[in-house]
Amino acid sequence: MSFLHLILTRIAASTLTLVLVSMIIFGAVQGLPGDAAARILGREASETAKDRLRQEMNLDAPLVRRYLDWAGGVLQGDLGKSFSGQKPVTEQLLPRLKNTLALAGIALLLYVPLSILPAMMQARHPDRRLDRTLSALTVLILSTPEFLFATLLLFGLAVWLPLFPPIVQLSSGMGWGAWLHALFLPSLTLAILMATYGTRLLRESLIEILQSDHVLLAELKGLSESRILWRHVLPNALIPWMNATALNVAFMIGGVVVVEKVFGFPGFGSMLVDALQMRDLPVISAGVLVAATLFVLANLAADLGALLVNPRLRVKS
């Protein structure tokens, strides 16, 4: 009962958050300075053409009315019609979201070994040369602006050592191999950017747990070093790492914009930037709502994951 209750409470809180967020998004987006009609038709557009477009976009109805229309549509899966594309937002958003989720998925797969393996190598012999080198490297990457880091990888692995295409070109007929090849470099960039933070966090908690009594007991029992590390230390150290991963997913929503721009990737982040520049309100609202939903879901997953991994959290206090 109490476990189920906990889960249901978290889900209810997440839903409430999303409703509040949707209101804030809608209000904030409507308050953006600038005129969608002028952006879409260009600075040389005539006044009559702009007036007509404004009417088409229904920008003169009251705010609350427009919010309710919009929210009602969203609940039925209708995100409205894009101002600039003159098509349903979903047609524009879904392919881009699919691309970005693929990018993020590959990045997450790379992120797991990229953050866990270095941390374990470091924690095994803290303050030795390998540990110091890896620490210096993670600090260096952490303090490099994302845009610069992505650009360095671009020039390194696409120009200097031309292993990957510098610009992601996706086509419907492309095979799996070509697809993975195109997505690999931006995914790797994203994975490394996320992994640095996870590595540092995991190293700290691994070292702390390695010094605890139950590890000493295991050593005295004569268990092998790798068994202790993998079975008794890592699972305990993973809880803060999972929270960090959830935060990393949030970072990814922002970082993906930079990576998509640098690699010319037709993704969700660059779509959102284009929509912001065009003042395409329906696309902005839908895009931010999707991003917020992903963020809330990632946090919910981290909470539930922690509950599963750590039985102590399930006990009512």
């Binding site: 300075p33 053409a49 295409p165 510098p166 610009i167 070509a178 721009k261 640098v262």
Partner: protein, 505 residues
Amino acid sequence: MKRTLLGSVLALTLTATHGSAAECLRVIGTEGGGPAVTLDPAFNNLNDDSYQQNLVFNKLVNLDADYQPIPELAKAWSVSEDGKTWTFELEQGVTFHDGKPLTAADVVWSFKRLIDPATGSPGAGLLGFLDPAGIVAVDDHTVTFTTKDVVAELPLLISNKYTMIVQDGATSEVLKATGIGTGPFIQDVYDLAQDTRVFQRNPNYWRAGLPIAACIDLKVITEEVSRIAAIQSGSVDLIVSAGPATVTTLGGDARVKVVPAAAAGGYINLSMQTDQQPFDDVRVRQAMKAVVDRQLVVDTVLLGNGVPGNDTPIAPTNPMALTAETMPRDVAKARALLAEAGYPDGITVDLNTAEAGPSYVLLAQVYQQMAAEAGITVNVVNNPADSYFDVIWMKTPFFVSSWNGRSVPEALAYTFLSDAEYNEGNWKNADYDELVIDARTEVDPAKRAEMVKQAQAILAADGGLIIPVFFTDVAVLRAGCDGFVPHPSASILNYETLTCADRAN
């Protein structure tokens, strides 16, 4: 685990080859339209629209690098004795991509649609001299334009980025995503969601032997470093328009070829609104102009990729320009003018700018330094780029702007006539208006040139715009590619002879 990961990466890089799209020539643009991009010439607003519309459409008359009319779908033209009726003779045997032959009816429809207020095209204002009833298909291959007044340079004036020829009856709704024209390439894959646009060679193109390329794959990359990486790595073939920084970075790189336009094109300017203090005093405007070291702006802001301007929209390299000389900097004169205007201790002004166009912020900063020596304190206000053209441009007394290259009559009218829609300086000068409007009806080229120069003299002395430089557009080709020269006007692109020795043609 680590070894298998490395192994799979290696396997990927070794086995994966480029898809069939790699056979196309890959063309990169710099200004993206995202989902707003359109194939409708009546709404050719963004450079991204121009990149693709020049692939699929032709114009009746096009403009050469000196903005002189050259035949395209019209192979010849003539004017009646009274100068009011122009007759255009169409090329024979031209077909649209769907197989229908081009006839005079298509031309009539294209122009009538543009000037119809119901269409709402921004191009309508440029064609104000046309009367719908005066556009007539005489026979299948002859079109006449009859105007109320004499329009001396009509063939030139009916050639702008909006006047591409569409099919009789084509509407904006259809043209938004479907470009059936007579142009050198046929629209093939057009998937904006995946950012994929492929155009195939038109096998029935009316210019024999052209185009050369089998197909063109068009994509816009807004990040300059990414464009540089793409062309250096050899995975793209052409960047149609590159900024000054790209040219500096790539100069001397054997992997690429930098191709400048035949002449300087557009300009970047500082606009003072002449109905706002302190710019309502002509002496203040003249002082603001006198402090500019124009060659220095070319060297610093454009890194040498351009020519100095003299506060008129005609580049000094053009024979119709006010002068070929560069107006010298004169700080003492600027101080004297300010003192005369009642500001012996100088003035303080806010200059609005944003990263809304290339070099906007840099120009403002360079101007700030130059003006300081004359006692003019310039506060550079850097605004958000995305709303700049809605909120700041033409709505503040002093701001940075830029314009694409235009033909002489269009450039003088478009932003400077008292009733011009984009009269950035809110400048009203009856003498100027009269000269510009009368020049349109003057059939004697020598007299017309004289009037154009007089108008420019008034503008340079009295107008609200500081036009310090004209920029020269530059294309970057991958080594091994050839046949593309950027036009001084960014909206005119000719891909007909583009070719790469090592790609399928």
